[in-house]
Subunit: 223 residues, 2 copies
Amino acid sequence: MDMQLEHTDLLPSLPVFDGVGRVHLAWLASVARRLSLKRGETLFEKGQPVQFLYILLNGHIKLAVPAGHGQEKILEFLKPGDAFGESVLLPDHRWIATAQALFPCKLLALSLSDLATAVERSPAFGLRLLANVSQRVETQFMDQESGALRNAVQRVAEYVLRQPKVGNQARFLYHKRAIASRLGLQPETFSRSLKQLVTDGLITVQGARIVIHDEDALQAMVA
Amino acid sequence: MDMQLEHTDLLPSLPVFDGVGRVHLAWLASVARRLSLKRGETLFEKGQPVQFLYILLNGHIKLAVPAGHGQEKILEFLKPGDAFGESVLLPDHRWIATAQALFPCKLLALSLSDLATAVERSPAFGLRLLANVSQRVETQFMDQESGALRNAVQRVAEYVLRQPKVGNQARFLYHKRAIASRLGLQPETFSRSLKQLVTDGLITVQGARIVIHDEDALQAMVA
DNA sequence: CGCCTATTTGAGCGTCGTCAATCCAGGTGG
DNA sequence: CCACCTGGATTGACGACGCTCAAATAGGCG
């Protein structure tokens, strides 16, 4: 199968390319670098110069800052359709966090000049990028709110509710250790908080599997 | 003095309009609504639909979420040149926080259609907006990092270092209560943390005035 | 089947939040 | 010009939530 066509076909399904004309998409697909990452592979590290805007087509990536003793604080989980590295627009900018693949990834990389040309040719693409990063700011705000206003059990309940559900079932996509870090908790505290929800009869947990018994009570807990 | 010309002249001095052609600036100035806020006045409240992208020309605004018992958690201090409300691009979006003037403000408001037209006419403006919001994401990341990795005294030291200094002098622009909220601390804890820095001989504080005696030690404290 | 890592569980402690009282500064009016 | 007054800031005492250290258990992958 033609690699280039494969990627071109993938593009229209991502919201970040909504409303971007076919011809512009083709141009994007032609100039953008294509990258693949294996699970665990590092895309960039804190301190390196920002050279590209990345668009994640496939897979999951964590953005994290090292915290000594082999610890880290996870700032964000990146999902397909997410764009990151807009700070390529800021002069002499360096990454403030490290990006590492949690699952095998495919992504596009746009250099600063390609990004500028792309927005020049397709202002709609510029607006899509703006909407995307705007969404990320809002997510950060909600995280800040949760971190400041809610306790450990409430934050865990909130996280469970946000997971995609089929019926009343859900799964932890990432390691519990990683989720704990994302929520600003120690793994031990995360474990105890989950146990609390189980003890209260709101959920049951088996490994990465979650069954939600009382969604309303979970909602009430975070409100 | 002509109000419109006054604002038009103000625009080129803000980084967010760098590289945006004179003619586009004039167009922006002609279509954008102009707003003034008195100290304490509310621009929008949590839950209201997002109708405009705002660009702060002058003054300071706080973005905060109410937290019950008349409390609030301040998410961000907005300064001249900051743009906010890019989420006007997201469908059916509502404000997740309240905006209130901390000082008298002047600002521009762009409707969704005006924003789209502006980026259409001047892709450079789109890139500037992207850079601006990108900067805000990074600030959020650094806040998350501080909140997770540093204790109260370290966060206060970090905040002091970030204030604009003349010689070894600086000032708290906002009420300590507000700064505490921004740092994710109670006013009492903020006060005690400042006292700690004073006791250690790193700074002295009189009301809103700060004198920095040992900047290196402050830096070392947050590293 | 066995190793290695992730997760869970337990015990103890420290930081920060809560509640309450006091202190202080800036603004107002006599 | 000074006394008052009001809201912010400070200080103290105490408790709780989440962190740290340590050990046991479970789970995944070769």
